[in-house]
């Protein structure tokens, strides 16, 4: 069954142009993604064991996807045996209802969250807010965009599109409402200091914490959370109620699988051997210990299962490391918002139409990829991202999601060029027809499909003597001897 993803319904060209004209964002993204990619390159140097671990991790993820139903059963049993409560949601709507009910039953009024793409996918905050709860994002970048009422522009750097002045302005308003002194200036440190103090108020007052999960280990019932800020540790240690919302594709079978995978997100995404905090939660607090009194894990499908057994199955191995975003040339130019989906970059191009059966992001495979293969090279989970993007383009042609004029052009093109005579004829024709578009020997325009080229570029004209013609004249028959 297809899932549902929130969509920015503005057309692609509007979203794209917003990105292309946002100089701050492009600057921040370029330096950030460059730094991450360079960091990744360096961190793997002289650290061969992690290459072996990566490969073992790929195998673990592939195995898990192949046994999803069985693993899901077992994971639930383990978590329950350790005193946790589990839930399974087939759809986004079910997932929202489950979390809302947990919160309502416990009389929750304030929720603190650590970063989770899945809860963005579910639009969980809206649901909880509609039931009268306050929901606070505690990852610094997420908090900034929550104040701005926006969505993340990079899975690792959600507020990459905001500059310091904008952030300071947001914090000043927030400070007034929270009766706190505003940030001293717009230095990144002062802004961070403000957020620390501000979010501390919320952490200490919260009744419920919500996290995602980077991995969920079946045999130990463990949810693994990886952060650099340490907000997940507040969320897991302080509120009395904890809800981890986990995609079913996050399951891995064994603790050993986890040991292979645990370093991969940071190694590949930001070029660190491990993020600052790796938090492993396997149940509610024991009698005197620390952690939540109540521990819930909500497993979410929302379209994921529909990929099992298809050529796209490996997409479910994604560990959300961000490496593919970091190397994607299109992402660097247009930024995350242009994709109009929670998931951006190459994985978003593939995942958005797939999870929603082309309801959302059907345009992405065509418009957001130059087929440069950088993502395929970068992906630590060996997901065939470029192959999938091509496959999705083909799928669009099959499903008649492409423009008729384009279908006609490509059909004519291949039909004519499949014979030498047709090929030569079309070039002769082009040579005649191009005359009206020539200026000082260069093409300035052309009709049809090619028109887009000439909006920003010139093109040499079709040569007076093509290579074929030159060869026939100069080497012709007999030149082979």
């Amino acid at each position: 069954m297809a899932g549902h993803l929130p969509a920015d319904i503005r057309p692609w060209n509007v979203r794209r142009d917003n990105g292309l004209t946002n100089a701050i964002m492009r600057e921040t993204l370029a330096s950030g993604t460059r730094r991450f990619s360079e960091g990744k390159r360096q961190v793997f140097q002289g650290y061969e064991s992690q290459e072996a671990a990566r490969q073992a991790g790929v195998q673990a993820k592939r195995r898990a996807v192949a046994h999803l139903d069985e693993l899901l059963e077992r994971a639930q049993a383990t978590i329950q045996a350790q005193g946790g409560t589990t839930h399974v949601a087939a759809t986004a709507g079910e997932a929202r209802a489950i979390v809302r009910e947990i919160a309502q039953n416990a009389g929750v009024r304030l929720v603190v969250k650590s970063k989770s793409m899945l809860t963005e996918e579910l639009e969980l905050n809206k649901e909880l807010a509609a039931s009268g709860m306050r929901v606070i994002e505690t990852d610094l970048g997420e908090y900034i965009i929550q104040l701005a009422r926006e969505t993340p522009s990079h899975i690792l750097a959600p507020a990459a599109h905001k500059n310091r002045a904008q952030i300071r302005a947001l914090f000043e308003v927030d400070a007034q409402q929270a009766h706190l002194p505003p940030p001293a200036d717009d230095d990144a440190r002062s802004l961070t200091q403000f957020a620390r103090a501000r979010l501390r108020q919320e952490f200490l007052a919260a009744d419920m914490g919500i996290t995602g999960g980077n991995f969920c280990v079946v045999e130990t019932g463990t949810v693994a959370l990886i952060t650099n800020e340490g907000n997940a540790d507040w969320v897991t240690s302080v509120p009395r109620l904890l809800v981890c919302v986990v995609g079913i594709e996050k399951l891995v079978e064994t603790w050993e699988d986890l040991t292979h995978l645990i370093q991969q997100p940071a190694m590949n995404g930001i070029g660190q051997r491990l993020s600052s905090y790796t938090t492993l939660i396997s149940g509610p607090r024991s009698q005197f210990g620390e952690g939540p009194e109540e521990f819930h894990v909500v497993f979410v499908d929302n379209g994921r299962r529909s990929l099992v057994g298809t050529p796209y199955e490996d997409v479910l191995s994604c560990i959300r490391c961000g490496a593919c975003l970091n190397v994607c040339p299109v992402f660097r130019q247009v930024g995350g918002h242009a994709y109009g989906s929670v998931y951006s970059g190459p994985i978003g191009v593939v995942e958005t139409p797939l999870l929603t059966d082309f309801e959302v992001g059907a345009e992405l495979p065509s418009v957001a990829c130059t087929v440069c293969h950088a993502c395929g090279e970068a992906c630590p989970m060996d997901i065939d991202l470029p192959g999938h993007i091509l496959r999705l383009r083909q799928e669009k042609v099959r499903r008649h999601l492409t423009a008729r004029s384009a279908n006609w052009s490509y059909g004519m093109w291949s039909g004519a060029w499949a014979t030498p005579a047709g090929y030569r004829r079309s070039l002769r024709l082009a040579r005649l027809a191009q005359k009206i578009y020539l200026r000082r020997g260069w093409l300035r325009n052309a009709p049809g499909l090619a028109h887009g080229w000439f909006i920003t570029r010139d093109m040499p004209k079709v040569a007076d003597i093509t290579f074929h013609e030159w060869w026939a004249q100069n080497r012709g028959t007999g030149a082979h001897d």
């Binding site: 142009d17 292309l20 418009v367 083909q394 090929y423 887009g452 570029r457 060869w471």
Partner: protein, 262 residues
Amino acid sequence: MKTELGTRTVRLFATCLIDAFRPDVGQAAVQVLEQAGVEVQFPSSQTCCGQFVFNAGYRQQAAVLARHFVSVFQDESTPIVALSGSCAAMVVHEYPTLVIDGVAAGETASWAAAARAVGGHVVEFSQWVAAHLTPSGAAASAPRCLALHQGCHMRRVLGENAEPAQVLSRHGIEIQELVDADQCCGFGGTYSMTEWAVSTALGDAKIAALEEAGRRGAMGLVSADLGCLLHLQGRMRRRGLSWPVYHVAEVLREAMQPQGGE
């Protein structure tokens, strides 16, 4: 330059872009090879590898072109020297599964085998030159220092990285690496037409990198892929910039000219 082992024969795969828009690149390649004593054949029924059509998602239509290519090149086993890394990658990596699209069940195996065989003979131009020709004589009239742009398919699909720089530096040409060299120039086949805005933004980033390399001494841009070059050159021309762009074959031809001579 001389071949290592006396006379050799190669078949030239010129590509449609060179054929139609920059035939001089094809001529340069022929001259470089012939001057080194290589016999060059040009199977004149060749048209286009179909990559544009394939990358746009028109698999069936691309398969028609792929089968035409295979039937043109399948009968012999001399090396097929491709004047584009990207087109070479298309034939080598996509054809074996592509050619069977739309073929009757009984014929798929033979088409796939033929495509694999043809792919096995395809070698990108600079790669072939690096492996088989050795430079001779004092090189001369080529630009002394160039920035190198490696096409993405050549870099990642073909997995070829060192050869273009290698053959150029053997002729004493200094190569300047571009900043963000591994970033796509934005060409992407018909992506350059259908998504011209992003394509152009990427092109401008690459041009900025070229200008920066220019401050380090680069006198122009060289690549083994004409598609990228046409896109960048066309953009520069529209912006009133005039950095020269060269295909590797053109630079090699210049490098092999005797000083001052034509």
